[in-house]
């Protein structure tokens, strides 16, 4: 047992000389590829003429010196760097394969959970599509133009579909409210803003009459529709006058 231990010790003392310069050179080469605190596995065998090497630096032969040490270390470092740079494009990436018949991982549900937790507020949204709603649509002038055009469209459709009797009524109806408004308004203001509340109710009335007219061509039906129109007319005129009064009072103030 003693002999065994002695033999091992004998070899160990003789062979173990250090070369930190080489270790540093290789560490420097791997530095950009491997995270801090991690090390690669490296096995290096260096052969050199014995007359270039001096092992008698240290009494216990723990150190080793050889000729042109720095240049040789630099060569080794460059060699490792080149090899690593060449091997970089061929880096392997492992993808987890699904077993046949296995359900797909539900990635969407995870996203929805996340969105529930931190919702995106309107003020953080940005209009990315040019066709999407613009802020100009909420300005006054552009609102009124489509409203008037819709009214005119409704009248044309009714004239196409409906009977001549209804057409007359519609014409009468179109002329009537403006007259009423002219009468009701004390000052000469036939601005579009005053006309604004009328179209919605008037179009409703048109829709009603149109269907009635198409279904039955009897006098009763026509008179009934006339009654409806008249009642709706009165309502609209009243509303218009109210609106006008309100405007007037506001102006006085």
């Amino acid at each position: 047992m003693f002999g065994f231990r002695c033999r091992i010790l004998y070899i160990f003392v003789n062979i173990s000389f250090s070369l930190p310069a080489l270790r540093d050179a290789i560490d420097k080469a791997f530095k950009t590829y491997i995270p801090r605190g991690q090390h690669p596995f490296v096995y290096v065998s260096l052969e050199m003429d014995s007359h270039n090497v001096d092992v008698n630096i240290h009494p216990t032969k723990h150190e080793l010196k050889f000729l042109h040490e720095e240049v040789i270390m630099d060569h080794i470092r460059v060699c490792f760097e080149k090899a690593l740079a060449l091997s970089m494009p061929a880096q392997r990436a492992y993808i987890q394969q699904l077993l046949p018949g296995a359900p797909q991982p539900d990635l969407i549900s995870g996203d929805s959970e996340r969105s529930a937790d931190d919702r995106v507020y309107d003020r953080y949204l940005i209009r990315s599509d040019a066709k999407a709603q613009k802020i100009e649509q909420f300005f006054g002038s552009s609102v009124l133009i489509p409203a008037v055009s819709s009214q005119s469209n409704m009248s044309t459709t009714s004239s196409q579909q409906g009977t001549p009797v209804l057409d007359d009524q519609s014409n009468q109806f179109e002329s009537d409210p403006s007259e009423g408004l002219n009468r009701s308004s004390r000052h000469n203001e036939t601005s579009e803003s005053v006309l604004d509340p009328i179209p919605s109710t008037s179009t409703d009335a048109y829709a009603d009459t149109d269907t009635v007219g198409e279904d039955t061509f009897t006098d009763n039906a026509i008179t009934a529709s006339q009654n409806i129109i008249n009642s709706s007319l009165n309502e609209t005129i009243q509303k218009a006058t109210n609106h006008d009064r309100f405007r007037v009072t506001r102006r006085i103030k």
């Binding site: 010790l9 250090s18 070369l19 065998s45 052969e47 050199m48 723990h62 392997r92």
Partner: protein, 133 residues
């Protein structure tokens, strides 16, 4: 040897520590000499290390350090006629890294221990001290 310097004997604390040192040296030499078969037995236990004769260095590395290291292993060679030295070895690619430093260095077919604390103490006394700061 132990009589003159009792510190030398104090280094060897336990049998397992001693065995680990032996295993370290034998396994490294087994890697360096793939043509020679190495076997390491521990008293009262089954065989710890066995490398077959006439294999390759990479196969021996796989036996000693596991298949994980061998998967990323790549050979490297350098011959310099001007400076008159020859280097050959193996290194692992960028995907592999371990917190343990595994650095085998053979100089003229002799194992150079570059990780022991002893070598650190020597280098502190020498000029290499500044590389550690």
């Amino acid at each position: 040897m132990f009589y003159n310097m009792p510190q030398r004997k104090n280094i060897y604390k336990s049998a397992t520590d001693e065995f680990n040192r032996i295993y370290d040296v034998v396994s490294k030499y087994a890697i360096h000499y793939p043509s020679i078969a190495f076997t390491l037995n521990k008293l009262g236990e089954k065989m710890v290390l066995r490398t077959p004769a006439n294999t390759t260095t990479s196969k021996n590395i796989a036996i000693v350090y596991g298949a994980d290291v061998a998967k990323y292993l790549k050979p490297i060679e350098l011959n310099d006629t001007v400076l008159q030295f020859r280097m050959n070895g193996y290194y692992t690619d960028a995907p592999y890294s371990s917190p343990r430093r595994e650095f085998l260095f053979f100089f003229n077919h002799r194992l150079v221990d570059s990780t022991s604390k002893l070598c650190f103490r020597c280098s502190v006394s020498g000029a290499e001290f500044y590389t550690y700061l």
